[in-house]
Chain length 258, copies 4
């Protein structure tokens, strides 16, 4: 395994596509969002690239007994009524600081191959508490990109995200800027405790406005409903066990829920 191995799975002609990144992060908002688009636009999608790397965790995931080596997948989506898309999804980010740079450059290489010069990195911004309203906070890599996003309902706040944006999402903006990409990061507010389908929906509604496609949200809303049941039960248990320590559900617990 070299530092990077990119499998060419298929070739698809796209017209000025937009790269949309949804790797795991806060509340898994970005991942949920991109996976939902893939689900809804399955008929127009094709897996085009798989990226393997020594920079990914050395492991395989198992699905129905069959292993799959850690990788990031890129799908080409020819959207009939809107912008063409390149969707970037996976279960893991790089495991070292330098690895994030290596992988982000690889993703930008692939984006250039397909003629993309715009990108959206999707993620979550943690509020630290359960919320009812889901704003979408933004960051861009050039100030000319601020206004169109504000028009689409994205909020730009002085103190958020605190500490900047870390990982692939941040580097897609930073390295993207050096390589001529117009890039924005859209972050749905989320508690940070749970996988959050409502936050993912808020982010997708902004994208719909910007990229002119339409999505059905039934399956995401179903998951949101399940999430609310879980939250309700947790709150009940908390009240019953005020003296006992209550662990916040871990990502592993939530994998079975969400």
């Amino acid at each position: 395994m070299d530092e990077l191995e990119i499998d060419v799975v298929a070739e698809v002609d796209l017209d000025d596509p937009v790269l949309i990144e949804g790797l795991p992060g806060v509340g898994h908002v970005g991942k949920l969002a991109v996976d939902h688009v893939l689900e809804e636009l399955e008929a127009e999608s094709a897996l085009v690239r798989r990226v393997y790397s020594r920079e990914f965790p050395p492991q395989v995931s198992i699905e129905e007994g069959v292993s799959e080596l850690t990788c990031t997948e890129i799908y080409a989506v020819s959207v009939p009524e809107g912008r063409d898309l390149l969707l970037l999804t996976g279960d893991h980010q790089a495991q070292t600081n330098g690895g994030h740079y290596v992988l982000t450059d690889a993703f930008l290489d692939i984006a250039e191959e397909f003629g993309a010069s715009e990108l959206y990195a999707l993620g979550g911004v943690p509020t630290g508490e359960l919320i009812d309203e889901y704003a979408v906070v933004g960051a861009v890599n050039h100030e000319s990109l601020l206004e169109p996003l504000e028009d689409a309902g994205v909020e730009f706040r002085e103190d958020e995200p605190a500490g900047g944006i870390v990982g692939v999402s941040g580097l897609l903006l930073g390295l993207g800027e050096r390589r001529g990409f117009d890039a924005a990061c859209l972050m749905g507010e989320t508690s940070g405790y749970l996988v959050d389908p409502k936050s993912a929906r808020a982010v997708l509604e902004v994208l719909e406005a910007l990229l002119e496609f339409e999505l059905d949200y039934e399956s995401l809303d179903e998951r949101a409903g399940e999430m609310e049941d879980v939250i309700g039960k947790i709150q009940e248990m908390e009240q019953q066990q005020q003296q006992q320590q209550m662990d916040v559900p871990t990502d592993d617990d939530l994998r079975y829920i969400g």
Copy 2:
């Protein structure tokens, strides 16, 4: 010391051998299993390769006052009545994420040198508690391999192993798939607290069925008996000291027991 140094210790002609990996992991199941095969088939075995690497921990083990630099050993076994074997054993895994990829590729290189195209990675899957029945849970890198293993008694479970398979065992499946190997991981159930000879035996019984060799289990059963004595004593002490904190025996303690 280069990234990899492979010592050619001997050359042996094998006929379509199967690589069997037994590096340390959960319950030391894989290591116990492979070391037992080596013990039982000593007359038919020859050490063929030693793999040294900067990726191994920088240390030597001491045996009767004499040092041995950390390495992985490969033995060629010409099994008269069954499949020829390449046995991979050692005391340590790589110490970095990238190191696991480097070492696994080296093991596959050696396997290809000897004409192998099939492999079994042996390990344990932790149950978190002491058990009486020892199922063997499986994962494969191609779905065509599911049925023969199911016929041999291997169980394929939806939620296990949780989080996939990490380390050399997982990468032997993942990188093996990219390099044309048919690979399976056999994981004996084990508490995860102890070196577990019974779990190793369960895994070996599956291998015997698949690879048509026969093993005597007397020495493994002896160790299992010693393990049960230890467990019995621990349970007694736990009952006596219910108010005191009871440390689970560490791997270091168990080195003297097992």
Copy 3:
């Protein structure tokens, strides 16, 4: 992104300049000091270099909604009445041990390009408690440099800094010595708990004496005043809440204060 990418932003002719380093460290003393010089001598300053690297944390900072990739900036300052300066500032240090060596060599390369052969690394030495008097402790990379600094009021103490000097400041002295630079590290005493503008002022007053420039300290003194208000409030709260645990303000809290 290569190991190092140095953007040439502008070219400026300097006359035997002195490199002054102010990367984040104890009490952010060095950073505050260099940022203050940049503010005061803005009219004579020009950004000449930006250093990007895989060795920096993989993140972007956000300012008014627009991202900026982690980097170190070098400014050329043509000081009318004193020594020309090369100011080195940034928000992050390297994230690995080897990375510190790589980046420090890059900074020395740039210094050589501009004809510099002297440098000052600015930082803080923690006292562990709030103080009223601010001594400046020193270290040099050649003993011939001791006397001029002592004459300028720098103190050389046997046991300080305990454990030597770690990171870019230390390596500017160590690697600087091997590459022919006269280098000194000036460390203002500081509690270590807070961003400390008074400590930064103490260090700058020594530099003014050595490099013959003059600075106005109004804005630094304002920040020092704000810091004293904060300290006063914290001490009040401590007295009120003697039974409760009092967290020392973190760097993040202080970012909003200082």
Copy 4:
């Protein structure tokens, strides 16, 4: 700074010298021992090499206000009545696993340059408690070396050192074996809590027998006396403060004592 930079400080002709390593480790036994030999044989010693590396911690130590970049020093000692020596001393070991391999190979390169083919790695083996008798435990990289060491009073124990020998000392045996060196590790028993001059003396007395030089031990005995005063005071304080938590002195505290 490259991965390795070796400064040639002087050239000295030695006759079949023995390399003796004393880098920091358990109880600083090896370092104390080698530094004592350097002190006692100062007239016959010359600094021949300094080894710098990105693998060392990125820091400088300060002595009388002047900085020194982290390095390992090699001294050539022409011992009139005994074997010639190459003494290896320093304040730090490598900071990564791979770094230990890189540095040990560099030390063996230098040893070969000077015609050495034998080496002793000096260290401590922790007993976990204060002791009165100081045995010297050994390990060798070839069994032919066992007898001469046993004759010199070295003990070879089955279970010690538990877990093998980690770091440069272990690799000098392991890599030394692959490169044709006869190597032994001599480890003085020590509590592991303190810098231990008595343990260093025990190790040196074995070396004296093996290498036919003679040392005066007055300064080491003085330090041992100081250490006993410190231990006495600590034991008094422990008795007085049975209810209070007593921190074991850290290496930093001991730097001022020892």
